[in-house]
């Protein structure tokens, strides 16, 4: 089983909010708090759908019920810096790394990896329009089909 937890994530910047408001034609500031919240969700969903980091974040990946010592794939892990690799008890594990793959040196049923993603600027520029589109769809109360369609394009 694979469980991905966001430990912390960089906040959407002021420019992101301004671009979102321009995209959604929101003329004034009275709903900014809500819009930032929608933007946060949109960033998270698009990053997950595209498997590319846009905002720097710290993620924890837990892979359990492992039968063999197959490599662990870090989601959004291209260029990420690994903070720690531990087994189920929290003891550090030795590992080799190739791109976004982690090869633990010992076979353990549980592997936990804490790592920091590094935003990919080129991918970010490509994905930002989808973030705004998704956030606008959330704001407009669009149905799940519309939301899924946006994510499918990422």
């Amino acid at each position: 089983m694979v469980k991905l937890t966001t430990v912390s994530s960089a906040e959407p910047q002021r420019e992101h909010l301004a671009a979102f408001k321009a995209y959604a034609s929101v003329p004034d500031d009275h709903l900014d708090a809500l819009l930032v919240q929608l933007l946060r969700t949109a960033f998270k969903m698009v990053q997950e759908a595209a498997d590319k980091p846009i905002l720097a974040s710290s993620l924890e990946l837990e892979v359990s019920e492992r039968d063999d010592n197959s490599p662990v794939v870090l989601f959004q892990g291209e260029g990420a810096s690994v903070v720690s690799v531990t087994d189920g008890t929290g003891a550090p594990l030795g590992y080799d790394r190739r791109g976004s793959l982690i090869f633990p040196n010992a076979a353990t049923p549980v592997v936990r990896v804490l790592y920091m993603t590094v935003p990919d600027l080129a991918e970010g520029a490509r994905l930002l329009p989808f973030v705004y589109q998704y956030a606008t769809a959330l704001y407009d109360g669009a149905d799940s089909k519309t939301l899924a369609n946006i994510l499918a394009q990422c």
């Binding site: 959604a24 034609s25 929101v26 003329p27 004034d28 009275h30 704001y139 407009d140 109360g141």
Partner: protein, 116 residues
Amino acid sequence: MLREPKGARRLNDLVTLTLASVTEDDYGHPSLGEPADVLTVRAYVRQMSATKTMLTFQQADVVGLELEFRAVSVEYNGITWRGHRLHFSQPEDVDDRGRFVRLTAWYQVDNPNPVN
């Protein structure tokens, strides 16, 4: 027939919301001051069919409009669109969430005092 291509921007027109202050004289008679621009918003503006305009206003020299835009928090009591001062109804909450409003408006074709 009006068509909206898929993915086209819906709020594709600009309207200016204005506010004219109300003053009351010593006898309690209210009067409106000069309207001042408050906010420019992107809106969906469509002209009503001539029949609907006629049914609504029973006038030949008015153009009926239907407008939609995102609800704003600012106070306004006037709308300017392409140089026309619009007369409009009570805003209607379209989505039941207070985020979109729809207005039925009209302006006189031979408006003697166009804004621009």
